[in-house]
Amino acid sequence: MSDHEYIPKSKFGKWFNDRLPLLTLANHLTDYPTPKNLNYWWTFGGILTFCLITQIVTGLVLAMHYIAHADMAFDSVEHIMRDVNYGWLIRYIHANGASMFFLAVYIHIFRSLFYGSYKAPREIIWIIGIIIYLLMMAAAFLGYVLPWGQMSFWGATVITNLFSAIPLVGEGIVTWLWGGYSVDNPTLTRFFTLHYLIPFLILGLVVLHIWALHVPGNNNPVGIDIKKPSKDTVPFHPYIVIKDGFALLMFMIVFAFFVFYTPNILGHADNYIEANPLVTPAHIVPEWYLLPFYAILRSVPDKLLGVVAMLSAILILAALPWLDTSKIRSAVFRPLYRQFYWILVADVLILGYVGAMPAEGLYLLIARVATAYYFLHFLIILPILGFREKTMPLPLSITEPVLGGSQNLALVKDRKKFEN
């Protein structure tokens, strides 16, 4: 963060800024020193902000036409699709926007895992991020219930029933969540209310996420601490703004492809059948972005332990800054971690695949092995790796790998002294 005091040029600006330092904030954001070696994996923060705003704006418009009532919800969604001007467009953007949001957040999370962005001093940024991710899953689930199709209804039934696994109070909690003895109108109205609320909670947490980020500044692909501002940094505007903007444009091409060419490919055909409490669809699957956790849930044969395993799979991420004992952030300098990282990526993809398949036979076996490995990675491999791994020497600055030397020649000469 730049230490210099910002003074607006205009007289009015100065008068205003003395009373509410908004201009100081704007100046901080534009001048914010950013490592100059940030690659395109770092552009997903901006993309995610775009996704959140898109969901809020399209959601606002949809809420003007949607009716949260068990008898009318399904028809009101069809009304949006057929009668409302551009309703089809807004709804397809909102529905596919959820998937795009998760696509971006998974890339964002795995970037953090690769470059060790969760490590000290960025633990709070990371934990806020995990809370945002949890809220995103809640919002996505609640939103999926609103069209009141068969998948909506049975997805809501299955997920709310997860709470019945809690000993003693479980059944009472489920009845309370439903507002009745099954998923019904009272459930739908409260789900709509909460679906509307959560994005604003996320927005608030995003502000905290960015605030916490601006204290230590960005991590970077080499993962070393840098002096800010220095020759290793560039101001956020225009350098990062342009780069983020370009990446966003590329992302929007993918987004638009889904919206205009295959708007239903990520959904499920059964959700175009109105909710029927007497018939469960033959094959229930959650949305793609929840599949890995769904696979973990199903891989455990006990009801309570299955739910515990699924929740732990998410919450274990919050403990990651302390489970990973290595002081080296970037996987670039951790030859062993780099391999385990890619195994974890494959493991999560496998979990996602078997989560979409029937829970029997070979699929169940694969799901169990992959679930075991998931926990093994975080609970055993990462803590041990930090002590055992022989890491590669870190560069002394961002410029060193490029220019073959540090700005500080004395450091380069005596570099042995500075390596750990």
């Binding site: 049975w154 039934t157 299955v158 709310t160 029933n161 997860l162 019945s164 009845t175 309370w176 969540l177 439903w178 507002g179 009745g180 003895y181 099954s182 998923v183 019904d184 009272p186 409260r190 409490p277 007497l278 018939v279 469960t280 669809p281 033959a282 094959h283 229930i284 199903r298 455990v300 044969p301 006990d302 009801k303 309570l304 299955g306 029937p358 829970a359 029997e360």
Partner: protein, 169 residues
């Protein structure tokens, strides 16, 4: 104030906290309780069903409290099969006699005890029900035999009002 004596101010603090906690609780509880089943939901708590048209070997499904209830008129073979199962083989041991007072009629909540899906009739490895969501198999008495569900399908409160009518709830 070196003396460690309870004084007027300590008393006031404690009293304020206590009253404040009660006040916060009394304010929050109504909001939480509004989410519990309301009077109109509770009013629909019982249903009468005419079962005179159900043939042996058939199941009808009726809606009670928003949930499906299976009413199966079992054949003699099915009753014999349900009674022949040894208690040791069951994950949740319950005698068939305790589940179906009148052995010809099995009345139970058609809700899988795993995560609440509706199991399919005459499917699965035990000639009873099979839940398509996560693969729980139930026998002809609605008892869990295989899969993740922890308990047998629930038997609601019901009685025969006359020989043709069952009142559930």
């Amino acid at each position: 104030m070196s003396e460690k004596k309870t004084n007027r101010r300590d008393f006031l603090f404690t009293a304020t906290y206590a009253v404040g906690a009660v006040g916060v609780g009394a304010t929050i509880w109504p909001m939480i309780d509004t989410m519990n089943p309301d009077a109109s939901v509770k009013a629909l708590a019982s249903t009468e069903v005419d079962v005179s048209t159900v043939d042996p070997g058939k199941t009808i499904t009726v809606l009670w409290r928003g949930k499906p209830v299976f009413i199966r008129r079992r054949t003699q073979d099915e009753i014999a099969e349900a009674k022949s199962v040894k208690m040791e083989e069951l994950k949740h041991p319950e005698k068939d006699e305790d589940r179906a007072k009148n052995p010809e009629w099995l009345v139970m909540l058609g809700v899988c005890t795993h995560l609440g899906c509706v199991p399919l009739d005459q499917k699965g490895d035990y000639n009873g029900w099979f839940c398509p969501c996560h693969g729980s198999h139930y026998d002809i008495s609605g008892r869990i035999r295989k899969g993740p569900a922890p308990t047998n399908m629930e038997i609601p409160e019901y009685k025969f009002v006359n020989s043709n009518t069952i009142k559930i709830g």
